[in-house]
């Protein structure tokens, strides 16, 4: 039974695309056949994070409009056997997305893939709405700061009311989980950042994972490598744990999971990162 998972947040710049890339790669690493779809029509980014921008010929919009077959638009990842990318158009805008078109593409993908990860654009307008509309589960990406938390709260309200499952009216709902990104345990402890408890108290949804703020994320993005493939990165390890929880494993929550302990001199010199 395939699952459609939307990665969404409301606010921009919190790490939706980074998380979409990492989660889809993580699912593929575990042997699940996975496709990640870029819903940010007009601001195509996912292909760059996934390192396949030079291989885009046809895109999601071409498929929706019937100009290309789904097989022609899907790009097979070179590193992971089970991973495919469905890029979007850089020249069109969100109006090119239609509910029927999105449904047709998702239905076709459901026949072949175990997991379909939808990378939502920022905002709550058409692109974001259609990205979440047919989702079975949602990963709500939130930074530990008040504006991001409020936007995530708004998105949770939309997930509960403006999705296919919610509109069915039989009590089914999109299962939403929180992915707290760019978390800095020291700044949080110092009160400069919201604590995990503060965010959870406001959003009142299960915690999928805590991704520490890490320089490796930017480095991985520039290299076109999902950060989850970097096994020296604390962020990468945290994503591995989060993916495990996403598929139902019980994994203990660690803040700054696996981050290298800093040596004596590094501590003397303060934060190097």
């Amino acid at each position: 039974m395939s699952k459609v998972i939307v990665v969404t947040s409301g606010k921009g710049g919190v790490g939706k695309t980074t998380s979409s890339a990492a989660i889809s790669a993580g699912l593929a690493m575990r042997g699940h056949k996975t496709v990640v779809i870029d819903f940010d029509v007009g601001l195509r980014n996912l292909d760059m994070i996934m390192g396949c921008e030079r291989r885009v010929v046809f895109d999601f919009i071409n498929v929706i409009q019937g100009d290309a077959k789904l097989k022609q638009a899907l790009i097979k990842d070179r590193r992971l056997e089970n991973l495919y990318v469905l890029p979007t158009s850089q020249t069109r805008d969100k109006d090119a997305l239609t509910k029927e078109g999105v449904k047709a593409v998702l239905d076709e993908l459901r026949e072949e893939f175990d997991y379909i990860v939808c990378d939502s654009p920022a905002g709550i307008e058409r692109g974001a709405h259609l990205a979440m509309y047919y989702a079975d589960e949602a990963v709500v990406v939130t930074n530990p700061e008040v504006s991001s938390v409020r936007d995530s709260d708004r998105v949770l309200g939309l997930l509960n009311s403006k999705t296919f499952l919610a509109e069915k009216g039989d009590g089914s709902a999109v299962k939403a989980q929180l992915l707290l990104t760019r978390f800095d345990a020291q700044r949080s402890a110092a009160g400069e950042m919201m604590s995990v408890q503060d965010v959870l108290e406001i959003l009142a949804i299960p915690l999928l994972g805590i991704i520490p703020e890490s320089t490796s994320v930017l480095k991985a993005s520039n290299e076109g490598q999902p950060v989850i493939l970097d096994d020296t990165s604390g962020a990468g390890k945290a994503y591995v744990d989060a993916v495990g929880r996403l598929i139902g494993e019980q994994i203990e929550m660690r803040v700054n999971a696996g981050e290298q302990k800093r040596g004596f001199f590094q501590r003397l010199l303060g934060r190097t990162a």
């Binding site: 409020r150 936007d151 709260d153 708004r154 509960n160 406001i202 009142a204």
Partner: protein
């Protein structure tokens, strides 16, 4: 308080047919209703034999016919085709305290005679065995049934068991609003009655929006952007530092919105 009820005064002021203080009462109303009647089957003629049998029956069950509307069934009756005959029968029955008001199953002449005698001719109805009637009919039962049932309004309060998220508005337009969960910053909960929040209130809560000054807001934890009752409001800035924050109620005291802890 009168100034808070502009609706009532304006109806009197602008009603063109207003001739007295009770001008807003309608002169008549038409409602349908059903009633249970007793059918008296008359076999043969309305002669001594019939009246003797009737008196016998009345002695056996004196309460059975009391207050019960009565219809004469003429299917097996003979005669009674003239007004005099019909009037005599009615007089005899009423003399026995029977509330006869109509006939059924009569022929055309009988119907005409009944009309002249002040009875109405009903279409023939389904007869129910008298035993069953005796069992179910009790003195006063007909009178009780005559009281029209009050229309019970649908439950007017609203229950929300999920958190109210930023950007959502929940409106209980005919009563209380009960929320099991928190109300997020940027969310609005509105009720014409009271608002109960079993969680933290971070958004806006507006109770008694139709002007009910007795409405209150109750919440487990108060962190509201705005509290309003019957149009009088306080924003988070106006809520002083000494305002209680846990297990509180907000209510109107005169023209002042107060927040107090629930002891």
């Amino acid at each position: 308080m009168r100034a808070r009820e502009p609706g009532r005064t304006s109806v009197q002021d602008f009603n063109p047919t207003a001739t007295s203080q009770v001008a807003t009462v309608k002169p008549l109303q038409i409602r349908g209703r059903f009633l249970t009647a007793v059918a008296l089957h008359l076999a043969g003629r309305a002669d001594h034999g019939f009246f003797d049998a009737l008196d016998d029956k009345l002695r056996q069950t004196p309460l059975f016919f009391e207050n019960a509307p009565l219809v004469i069934d003429l299917e097996q009756a003979h005669g009674l085709e003239t007004t005099q005959e019909m009037q005599r029968l009615v007089a005899e029955l009423r003399g026995r305290n029977l509330s006869v008001f109509g006939i059924q199953s009569g022929n055309r002449n009988q119907a005409a005679a009944a009309a002249a005698a002040g009875l109405i001719a009903l279409p023939s109805g389904k007869a129910v065995s008298a035993d069953r009637v005796t069992r179910t009919e009790r003195p006063g039962a007909a009178a009780q049934a005559a009281i029209p049932e009050k229309e019970t309004p649908a439950p007017a309060s609203k229950l929300i068991t999920q958190p109210v998220r930023s950007g959502q508005t929940v409106f209980a337009d005919r009563g209380d609003l009960v929320i099991v969960g928190s109300v997020s910053s940027g969310a609005e909960v509105i009720a014409t009655g009271n608002i109960h929040i079993y969680g933290r209130l971070r958004g806006r809560a507006l109770a008694g929006v139709n002007g009910d000054t007795s409405a209150r807001i109750f919440c487990h934890a108060l962190d509201a952007e705005l509290l309003a009752i019957a149009g009088l409001y306080l924003t988070s800035e106006n809520l002083g530092a000494d305002t209680p924050r846990d297990n509180v109620q907000a209510f109107l005291e005169g023209e002042k919105l107060r927040v107090e802890s629930l002891k």
